[in-house]
Amino acid sequence: MSDAHAEHFFSEEQREQAARLGMWVFLGSESLLFAGLFALYAGYRAEAPALFAVCVHHSERLLGSINTLILLVSSTCAALGVAALRRDTPKRCAAWLGVTILLGAGFLAIKIYEYAKHLHAGIAPGNATTFFSQYTGGRSTPFWTLYYATTGLHAVHVTVGIGVLLFATTGALRGTLNATRAYPLENAVLYWHLVDLIWIFVWPLYYLA
């Protein structure tokens, strides 16, 4: 082991296990970050279920569903990229990661378009908009504030995930990531799968039911 920074590890295997554990603990902490928003949703929905139903009815169901398919396919591509690296085919790995990154960028583009549509319709964070008096009889609910907070935070995670995957893609192309040292990519893709996991639950809560 020639890396001076790794002297505190007994072996490369231990270094890999430490990195893997660290990434899973990080994913757990990110899950609890979103858990607060999901708990708020549950609480407010239990308080005013009819108002939430009205708001869900006005969500962009088709755009949200396309974004769901995008993330599911991107997760599949990312997993196939990891498999390609483990098979010692880094160029194929980079290709799969490239598709994943493009799909992630597509997700963000659709999200921005969706936000623009909402804002144009008068749906904004907070309750002081004409939308509420028109469709909810003047009653307010934090559905849209929660929507912007949750999907906005998720979009930040998607952006970070794209950056991490870009970094991993260059590593695969340069050879710093390979079949014997695949764990940095595996950890990066674990983060991408978490982004997908969060959206899997955001989609039914804010778009479907």
Partner: protein, 116 residues
Amino acid sequence: MERAARTRAHGLHLTIAGVSLVLLAILSFGLSFVELGRLALPVALLIAAIKATIVLLAFMELNRERSSIQLALLAVAFMLSLLVAFTVADVVTREPVTLNPKETGPAEPVPFHAQP
């Protein structure tokens, strides 16, 4: 030859998982147009839980991780369930606030969520 066969099998396994996820998403999308009443959200979340399980096992390979990591993830799921359950329990079991008629006049309680 055997390694190549295992590699192809693993790739096929991942592709099948991906196709399953897409089909479940299409099912969930289709069911959103069906009037399920109070079952709409539980059904949607059940399908979401199945998709999440596929991602965790097939893509994130949680079943191959060490038991300490699996326990940590179980703890996350447990804490999330506690947080949601107690938040909802708090909200649905609240009594309406009864204001003192001498101070405010109206005898009807004003629920928290009813805002002008």
